[in-house]
Amino acid sequence: MRSASITACVLGLLVITASLAGFEQQTAAMAGPRSIIFDTRFVEAMRDVSSLLPDDSNLLVSSNGAIVTYFTGHIATVPWTATSEQTLILYMSQRGYQYLLAFENKTDVAALKAVFSSSGLKFLETTFVQLDEYHTDFYVIHLYKLKSS
């Protein structure tokens, strides 16, 4: 094999080695160290939430709808169309939701970021009753019930 071909082979092998070199770091970075998948106390919290909810009741969540649904056994919906506290309450009353599970400082709806912030949650207490509060490894989760008008 001539030198130019050897050089091409070496470059090719370097490219392959470079592809493999970042495997560990990239894989670790994909989830992030504070991802919900590593939360050791989350399942326990969801069991507690489930025990407080009546059978056949659905709940609204600020985030992680599918995960909450699976572990609580109650269908959990993210209010995608709500844009403020008022529209959130309207959303709940129109669809018959009584319970809200709020992940402090975490929501999938960008417009509701302020509502579910630490300070924003305090304002919710005018229209909601807080049933319980759960501290997992990475989250503070509040369970609210809509006050009856």
Binding site: S5, F23, Q26, T27, I37, F38, I67, T69, Y70
Partner: protein
């Protein structure tokens, strides 16, 4: 003293015998070691998972609903993984921990399937390289370690490839079943699986591969659709917002190609400009697989995610290694190699550059051509052999469709040409 030397001779003899046994199987041994490492890596990673990711939770909820005969939580989710979860739970009882390794099993099993599919025709080292690049791809590893459909879809797609590449007609029926299971694993990937069967049939000019695959794929697909329809009253393959396609292709996958496939992606364009990529029909399925998949996902107007690239990662790695293989197997000066190998360099401007005399420091180029020599008796010893032009055994491709370049040689520049070529690719001389 004599006994001691005899013992040493015996030891050397045992060592030599062991080497003779091990040497042809170095790649196989390395592959087994890779499997062990992969298993340990999957185990150490998944054992830290306490909660499934969001999509995984949806499959778990659907599995519970299948088991409890309740309405599905998300009706557009492909059912196979939920059926498998429900199957495990029917024995163990419902617990997500008992199924959290399920997807990884398929991701892990994809490695031997890909290795066996490539080893037969491309050799053990090539197959090993493709497997290493695939299973140690961070996207592939991460998403197959989660409770998602990526692992099973990849496995059944690779099983389809394995079966359609087989010479045994019975395996082509199995390919069809795998196409159906690919559909049940992850709906859109059935297009890739179907394409693999279609292109392989075309490349081998053997339409029985496709017809037999269709014969078994259709019943499986129909059964899956019927079961979902009976359960939900409808059949939906995705959310409506994710099914908008456009001719304005998104550059997302090309822009993020290094993130998705690593630096090895840089070798893929090289494979596309090498003549061997197209001359060897074995490669056609990988070319079509890659091009179609890239276009398909790029044509989606809104829904772009690097994990959609997982299923055609083996095609990317195959093409990258194909480019490297051509350079590794080359034993000629680079310019002569390029003049024969590059797809478009037969045209005049490039040919002129490549045919320019080399400096004296590199003797032997350009090759000596005797003007009076007859066209079919080249005088240069640099004429590539058949083996150089057709690397690797290709047992099941009919001889009639094998390229037979060596039968036609340009009388002017001494470059091999296809037997039916009218003009030389390199210098443009009329051949007949």
């Amino acid at each position: 003293m004599q006994e001691q030397s005899q013992t040493e001779v015996e030891k050397q003899s045992i060592g030599a015998s062991l080497f003779r046994i091990v040497n042809p199987h170095i790649a196989d041994i390395a592959f087994l070691a890779l499997l062990v490492v992969l298993m340990m890596k999957y185990n150490s990673t998944i054992s830290t998972y306490q909660v499934p990711i969001s999509d995984g939770a949806a499959y778990l909820t659907n599995a519970r609903n299948w088991l409890m005969n309740e309405p599905l939580f998300q009706i557009y989710r492909p059912p196979l993984i939920s059926w498998m979860i429900a199957g495990v739970w029917s024995i163990t009882g419902e617990n997500w921990l008992s199924v959290k390794y399920l997807s990884a099993l398929f991701g892990f099993a994809s490695a031997p399937v890909l290795y066996l599919a490539l080893r037969r025709d491309k050799g053990a080292f090539f197959a090993l390289g493709a497997v290493i690049l695939t299973v140690l791809n961070s996207e592939v590893f991460y998403y197959t370690s989660q409770l998602l459909t990526e692992g099973s879809a990849l496995f059944f797609l690779l099983a389809t490839l394995y079966f359609v590449k087989s010479e045994k007609p019975g395996y082509w029926f199995l390919a069809g079943i795998c196409i159906g299971l690919t559909f049940a694993s992850r709906y859109p990937i059935v297009l890739q699986a179907g394409l693999v069967a279609l292109v392989e049939s075309f490349a081998r000019k053997n339409w029985r591969i496709l017809t037999r695959a269709i014969a078994t794929a259709v019943p499986v697909v129909v059964a899956v659709v019927a079961m979902v329809f009976l359960k939900t009253g409808t059949f939906q393959t995705a959310l409506a917002k994710d099914t908008n396609f456009t001719f304005l292709l998104s550059p997302y996958y090309v822009q993020n190609s290094i993130v998705a496939w690593g630096w090895v992606f840089l070798l893929v364009p090289i494979a596309f400009i090498l003549r061997e990529t197209y001359v060897n029909r074995y490669n056609w399925v990988f070319v079509a697989w890659f091009v179609f998949s890239l276009l398909f996902w790029s044509a989606n107007a809104t829904n772009h995610d690097l994990r959609f690239a997982i299923q055609f990662t083996p095609a990317v790695n195959f093409l990258a290694l194909l480019a490297l293989e051509r350079f590794v197997k080359n034993s000629e000066p680079l310019r002569l190699f390029l003049s024969k190998e590059l797809l478009f360099l037969g045209h005049a401007p490039f040919a002129t550059v490549l045919r320019a005399p080399m400096p004296q420091s590199q003797p032997g180029f350009p090759p000596t051509v005797t003007p009076s020599a007859p066209p079919h008796q080249p005088t240069t010893h640099r004429q590539p052999s058949l083996q150089q032009l057709q690397p690797g055994p290709q047992p099941f491709y009919p001889q009639s469709i094998q390229p037979t370049w060596q039968t036609s040689i340009c009388p002017n520049c001494n470059t091999p040409a296809a037997p039916d070529a009218n003009f030389c690719d390199l210098c443009g001389t009329r051949l007949r």
